[in-house]
Amino acid sequence: MARTANGIVWTVVLAAAVIASVTFAVTFGPAQISPAEVWGSILHHLGIGSTSLSPLRDSIVWDLRLPRVLTAGAVGAGLSISGVVMQAITRNPLADPYLLGLSSGASLGAVAVLLLGSALLLPFAAFLGAVIALVATLLLASAFGRITPGRTILAGIAVSALAGAVTSLIIFWTVTGDSYREILSWLLGSLAGARWPAVGIAFVAIIVAGVPIMLSGRVLDAFAFGDTSAATLGINVNATRWTLLTATALLTGAMVSVSGAIGFVGLILPHAVRLLVGPRHRLLLPLSALVGASFLIWADTAARSLFDPRELPVGIVTAIIGAPVFAALLARRRVSS
């Protein structure tokens, strides 16, 4: 089948693109460090060769740039995979990873901690917030009968609204001076704080939750014609849905905890990849991960380089790119349906 062969080609190309992205993105930055010096420093840390950089400039490469680029890749991959799964489970192409209150809950946790002044607890508070919001969403969805995708989305909207309102209240009530800047940067999504621990969190999440999701491509395809259809194809509909939802929530929660709620990646990239290789999830999942990784690496590079030495939260860049693409998506849907 033509699409399968195509798929292998795309996988190789996109994987190479990710590696190339990492390699080149680390050479960008406000500090004037030549690419050769950058790679020399990285190789030196990996045990190969020596570096000609001073300890401070070496620190820029190894403590700031490299972890940030790697985190961007992992977060981009994680959000894209989560987006694909949410769109499949809810059978709604406008779904994104934040649908079940995940980003609002994480934001609430993060803002509470930011205002208490403890940046160290941020990832934990954000993750806890995401999990609590998810539980609240599912409890609400089940409170009125059987859990259906439609009810779950509505419950997620309600929980998001509530968490958002409380977050806004906290900000409004307590923010002084320009403490709102830090909060805003987190709410928009920013990779500026990504150090090696963030890389660890993001990669562990990809391995623990992302890989199992990527292996469930055929199972997701079975849902194409609905639950009944999937059941007759031998899928345990409930168990599958719950497992995928939990894995997605864990993955998204982890991503949001290190980078804030970066928008549009989980919404737009699955569609872009579908245009390339079609809707079959066995291919869509891994390729979305690869495209997501490259995309966010470059979006973050733009965020920290375009207005050098000033820095933008990456969420602004993804929104600027994502909003018109989203509008185009909506237009296509209206035309076709």
Binding site: V219, F225, S229, L233, G234, I235, P279, R280
Partner: protein, 258 residues
């Protein structure tokens, strides 16, 4: 025994009793038509037999297997259900949709083999959609999509094939070819149960009938003997005449009562 034998099937939906303690059976190697007025519970019964709707108690046996306790994948290799109005928003190709029918055989991780692809092609040929293999399924008409889903269930290689109003969106020639196809499958040993609302088709094309009314079986048996004018009058409230001409399939002529 071969074929399907279901006892005491009871289904409640949102608290309402749809089917009440039904016993029914369908022999292997034959086409059994499931007929009855709207709201009789045909679709519900089919979904219950396919084990996608939960039944309160009851036993469903098929060729010495207890369908309710079978493992999911084995069951999916045994039963296929063709739903009435299933559709998708995904832009899958026709061939990809039919390939979904191989999922019970492949499991989540195995790759499709040449044999799987051959089965898919053959299924498409059987329903006359081979030329549509690379078309986008979302662009098909209702009838074309119906045939694609039928091909998908054929690709499942089921021994029990359940169909919910398979002739609904089809034009007359497609209806006849679908029914001929069901007959061919039956000849190969598949147990075919099809819910039909068109009594004429039931009369001409099924070997057995199960007649439902208000959640109960009011009659069951060989079509010629069971689908009588008297029955039709009782169940549907219309006057019917079974027309038999030599060399042709039986058909029914209707007129309103009185």
């Amino acid at each position: 025994m071969s074929g399907l034998d279901a006892r005491q099937i009871t289904v409640r939906l949102d608290g309402t009793l749809i089917i009440d303690g039904i016993d029914c059976s369908a022999p292997a190697g034959a086409v059994t038509a499931l007929i009855g007025p709207n709201g009789a519970g045909k679709s519900t019964l089919l979904h219950a037999l396919a084990t996608v709707l939960p039944t309160s108690g009851g036993v469903i046996r098929f060729e010495n297997d207890d369908l309710l306790t079978m493992k999911r994948r084995s069951r999916a290799r045994t039963i296929a259900l063709v739903e009435q109005d299933a559709s998708t928003e995904l832009s899958l190709s026709v061939a990809e949709v039919v390939a979904l029918g191989r999922i019970p055989h492949l499991g989540p991780f195995a790759d499709e083999s040449a044999q799987d692809r051959a089965i898919v092609r053959s299924a498409l040929d059987t329903v006359g959609m081979a030329d549509f293999a690379h078309r986008d399924v979302t662009g098909l008409s209702g009838g074309e999509r119906q045939r694609v889903l039928l091909a998908r269930s054929i690709a499942q290689e089921p021994r029990l094939l359940l169909l919910d109003e398979p002739t609904n969106h089809l034009d007359i020639s497609a209806q006849l070819s679908t029914l001929a196809l069901l007959h061919d499958l039956a000849v190969k040993g598949v147990t075919v149960i099809a819910a039909l609302h068109d009594l004429t088709l039931a009369a001409g094309w099924s070997d057995y009938v199960i007649v439902l009314s208000a959640g109960h079986v009011v009659a069951a048996g060989a079509t010629a003997a069971t689908l009588t004018p008297r029955l039709i009058d009782d169940v549907y409230g219309v006057h019917a005449e079974i027309v038999e001409r030599p060399g042709q399939r039986p058909t029914i002529a209707f007129s309103p009562r009185g």
